[in-house]
């Protein structure tokens, strides 16, 4: 697992959104707007209760894919800095899962980049989730 100050990382431990936003804000005085996405665990999915969600990653490739996403976002959008953290552990309802923070001179590219990053992360980063429900365990196959 990666170092806690690395701007793009996968970790077991929980993270602090405030710490990540502060770190991003401190990285450049040109930043005029910061947009964040925080993904959390729900207690209900596909019409059934969810007790817990266990994450699995392809270690190495998953973090590499997140760095590639960050680099691509920096090319595609007029933004200054990105921080991304994804937890890989077992989480329960209300727990934090993933955080994306984007800083730009102006808000529009920050909003666009943040949405693109979370949408594309779901398609390109080799991480899987398995939900424990009243009917047992099942792998989540879709990424809405």
């Amino acid at each position: 697992m990666s170092h806690p100050t690395q701007s793009v990382r996968i970790q077991v431990e929980d993270f602090s959104m405030a710490v990540e936003v502060d770190a991003l804000r401190a990285s450049s005085k040109r930043i005029g707007g910061i947009v964040s996405f925080l993904g959390c665990a729900r207690d209900f999915s596909e019409g059934r209760d969810v007790f817990s969600i266990a994450f699995e990653q392809y270690a190495g490739m998953a973090e590499k894919a997140m760095f590639a996403l960050r680099d691509e976002a920096m090319q595609r959008f007029d933004i200054i800095a990105v921080r991304m953290v994804h937890r890989v552990t077992t989480v329960h309802a209300g727990d934090q899962i993933v955080l994306i923070v984007v800083g730009a001179e102006h808000r529009k590219p920050a909003f666009e980049a943040c949405e693109w990053l979370i949408d594309t992360l779901k398609q390109r980063v080799p991480i899987w989730k398995k939900e424990t429900t009243p009917n047992g365990e099942s792998w989540v196959t879709e990424h809405p």
Partner: protein, 75 residues
């Protein structure tokens, strides 16, 4: 040898997470899939040495790491 890694539902179905295959001359990804009985798995994503690959005719050699993965569901 070629190291084949299985993830998510594929690992559960096969009851294993890793397998070593002897590398053969002219061996392709399609041959690897057949050898580990995953040729009919759909949808299936494949990576060679941690880079996703779509061409199943791609050659593999000793020392390669091949990952067989269901569609991702992170986030």
């Amino acid at each position: 040898m070629i190291k084949v890694l299985f993830f998510g539902s594929i690992a559960d179905m096969l009851g294993q997470r890793e397998r070593l295959l002897p590398a053969g001359e002219g061996m392709t990804l399609a041959d690897v899939l057949k050898a580990v009985a995953c040729a009919d798995f759909k949808p299936l994503l494949v990576a060679v040495n941690q880079t996703q690959v779509n061409d199943m005719h791609r050659l593999v050699k000793a020392g390669d790491e091949v990952a067989l993965m269901p569609p991702f569901s992170g986030g």
